[in-house]
């Protein structure tokens, strides 16, 4: 009797042991944060830096979004002599609070998590209200708005990237590469669908929201621009409900596009995009990645990546702060476009290295055309629909691209 009782206790204990590491592991990010901000909390006077940055879940070594923001801070330190602190955290509100308490006056938060900052959660006052002397910078959305469109807090800055413009470039590039695939890459390593059957491209998104369709609409518009120039008719398959997790399902979805003749698929869907890349390699076609420069993950099969270069806004805003002008920008939504360099496609070196000798001339022409397009976007000659600002996309403007699933 006693024995079984003891056994049950041991069972309970061991079950608890199984759960505990799970909790510890999932909270690993916050552990790092606790260590860093904890030390800051215990000695609030000894602030080593004035600027802090909270990484998004991808972490500081993501070769893109986070890393380039940190590069921006490194440059700030070099040029302006301001120290900075980088924090990895799963508890964004907690980190915002402890960093502000520790005396950081400019805090960048790369994670998509704003409620506690601008609205306050759990009966708490909004963090922005609690620390009126601290400026908070958030990315990819403008949560800092009242219903009438005026800013909620004067110490929150929202940074937006006009990825519609860089997606436009990716669309134009897709069509140009598709038209000249055999010239550029030969026939041995790729099996592009040829002729009219292959005048197809695809877009796969994680969810149908403005933050995702902004890529797809820009992409289709860019394809339309080039298709019109070349007087060809294109089809752009779209799927906006791929989610962000199931990479295997993403791969089969991509396969339906590829086997129906699409030669390039652009995806903005987290891990699902990795599945699309894997399938592109399997069927010897191409995919386009997003956010960070992932061209080297599948050399020769990722045509390019539509990147957000966070270095640019981080540096400029830190400079405003250094010059004492940060208050002028408080409460504003700062938009960074193609011209600012904060969003673009990659420099195409990875895919360029796969271009065969006889295709080099064509490749130079394509790059020149891309340059021309980005100049035109910069000067405003080409205006690309920006869905993330709530702009409506008028598909009838697409003279040479049909979007059957949109």
């Amino acid at each position: 009797m006693f024995g079984s009782h003891k056994k049950k206790l041991v069972a309970l204990f061991l079950s608890a042991l199984m759960i505990v590491p799970a909790a510890a592991f999932s909270g690993c990010g916050s552990k790092g944060q606790a260590a860093s901000s904890g030390s800051a909390q215990s000695a609030p006077q000894k602030v080593t830096g004035k600027i802090a940055l909270i990484c998004s879940a991808a972490g500081p070594n993501d070769n893109g979004y986070n890393q380039s923001a940190i590069d921006g801070l490194k440059e700030v330190k070099k040029d302006l002599g301001i120290d900075y602190k980088v924090v990895q955290s799963t508890d964004i509100p907690g980190s915002l609070t402890s960093l502000a308490q520790a005396g950081y006056k400019l805090i960048f938060s790369l994670e998509y998590n704003f409620d506690a900052l601008v609205k306050g959660v759990g009966g708490q006052k909004a963090i922005a209200d609690q620390f009126p002397d601290t400026t908070f910078v958030v990315f990819n959305d403008n949560p800092n708005l009242k219903a009438d469109g005026t800013p909620l807090h004067k110490n929150v800055i929202s940074v937006m990237f006009n990825v519609n413009e860089s997606s436009f470039l990716a669309g134009a590039l897709s069509v140009m590469v598709n038209e000249n695939a055999t010239t550029l890459f030969g026939t041995s390593d790729y099996s592009f669908t040829a002729g009219d059957a292959g005048r197809k491209i695809g877009f796969i998104g994680g969810t149908k929201s403005n933050g995702i369709t902004v890529f797809g609409y820009g992409y289709a518009s860019g394809a339309n621009y080039e298709a019109k120039k070349l007087n060809k008719q294109y089809t752009c398959y779209t799927y906006y409900d791929a989610g962000f997790t199931d990479s295997a399902a993403g791969a089969t979805k991509a396969n339906t596009f590829f086997s129906s003749g699409a030669n390039v698929i652009f995806s903005s869907a987290g891990s699902v995009g990795d599945g699309v890349d894997s399938k592109a390699k399997e069927v010897k076609k191409m995919s386009i990645e997003v956010d960070a420069n992932k061209d080297a993950a599948y050399p020769g099969h990722i045509l390019t990546s539509v990147i957000k270069n966070t270095k640019v806004p981080v540096y400029t805003i830190a400079k405003y702060y250094n010059d004492g002008k940060i208050a002028d920008y408080g409460g504003k939504e700062l938009t960074y476009d193609l011209k600012s360099g904060a969003t673009s496609i990659t420099d195409l070196t990875e895919i360029g290295s796969k271009v065969v000798d006889s295709g080099k001339d064509e490749w130079t022409k394509i790059k020149a055309e891309l340059k021309d397009i980005s100049d035109k976007i910069g000067s405003g000659t080409i205006k690309v629909v920006n869905a993330q600002n709530g702009e409506k996309f008028d598909k009838s403007t697409l003279t040479n691209v049909t979007m059957p699933n949109d």
């Binding site: 079984s4 199984m18 999932s26 997790t245 295997a248 399902a249 089969t252 129906s260 990795d274 399997e282």
Partner: protein, 305 residues
């Protein structure tokens, strides 16, 4: 024709890991152990085989280590739930979150967003093309061009069926499931039978995971099993733990997913709705099965099925 071929091929693609996990899980179901940790075991297989394929540079070694590690996970689950008599559901749930967190932690620690086996293996080389058969219309797509694990799965369906109904071990499993006390009274080592059933399930789930990550995609991403273990659970519940019936349900779910994926392309603006098809099918099947199960049942709550 092209689309029919794609649907058939994708049905096999989706079904393979689910079927493998189903036949692994139904053994312990027959021994009256509800293993909801199947999802975690599949994820463990997917994760560890991808990780060790990358580290060793050899996918066979990688998959082997993945299977061994998942076997150990199965041992922990068995020890807790059989020897220490913890609740199966809670322990299985613990397995699921443990593995999800562990894989996420390791990726974070390695500072990568996913495990890319691009440098180790080319998935095209893993596909087995059967000469002559691959040229037969329709049948060719069903039978040829799949990786090894697909054929292994088909074989295992019959093997597990054989084990369950034509071996002494299979008989013991069923007796233990029907009535633990009777089993004990005739001298069957109940714990040992359950251990074996769970561990076979763990190994097959690990292989299902390896099929998904290493063989099919050469890629591991966080939580990539995306509920397939639970679909397997639903499949052998619908099939009442009978191998051939359960596999049939698993294939129905695979078919639903393949149909949804392929048909949505031609569905115009409604394509997004097709994503719900597999889940709607699952709910309908589950409901239909549980209604028919209740008919003619006189007692409540005893035994299995």
């Amino acid at each position: 024709m092209n689309m029919l071929n794609s649907i058939l091929y994708d049905t096999i693609y989706y079904s393979t890991p689910i079927v493998l996990c189903t036949i692994g899980g139904l053994l312990s179901y027959n021994a009256n152990v509800v293993n909801i940790g199947l999802e975690g075991m599949m994820l463990m297989g997917a994760f560890s085989s991808a990780l060790f394929s990358l580290l060793t540079g050899n996918i066979f070694l990688g998959i082997l280590i993945g299977v061994v590690l998942t076997f150990l996970l199965g041992l922990i689950f068995s020890f807790l739930s059989i020897n220490l008599k913890s609740n199966f559901i809670i322990t299985g749930f613990g397995v699921n979150i443990l593995v999800a967190a562990l894989s996420e932690f390791v990726l974070q620690y390695m500072q990568v967003a996913n495990i890319n086996l691009n440098s180790v293996v080319n998935v095209n080389h893993l596909k087995i093309h059967i000469p002559l058969v691959e040229n037969i219309p329709i049948l060719g797509k069903l039978l040829s061009g799949h990786p090894f694990m697909t054929y292994f799965t088909i074989a295992m369906v019959f093997v597990v069926n054989l084990i369950l109904y034509h071996t002494r071990f299979g008989l013991y499993v069923r007796v233990v499931g029907e009535n633990e006390d009777s089993a004990r009274s005739v001298g069957i080592n109940v714990n040992r039978v359950r251990y074996a059933a769970i561990l076979i399930g763990a190994v097959l789930s690990a292989l299902a995971g390896a099929n998904l990550s290493v063989e099919r995609m050469a890629l591991f991403t966080n939580n990539m099993t995306a509920g397939r273990g639970f679909i397997a659970l639903a499949a052998f519940y619908c099939g009442k733990g009978k191998p051939l019936n359960s596999v049939l349900y698993a294939v129905i779910f695979g078919l639903a997913q393949a149909l949804a994926t392929n048909l949505s392309l031609n569905a115009g603006a409604a394509s997004g709705l097709f994503g719900a098809v597999p889940y709607v099918v699952m709910v309908i099947v589950l409901a239909a099965v549980s209604v028919t199960k209740q008919r003619g049942k006189l007692t409540r709550g005893t035994g299995i099925g």
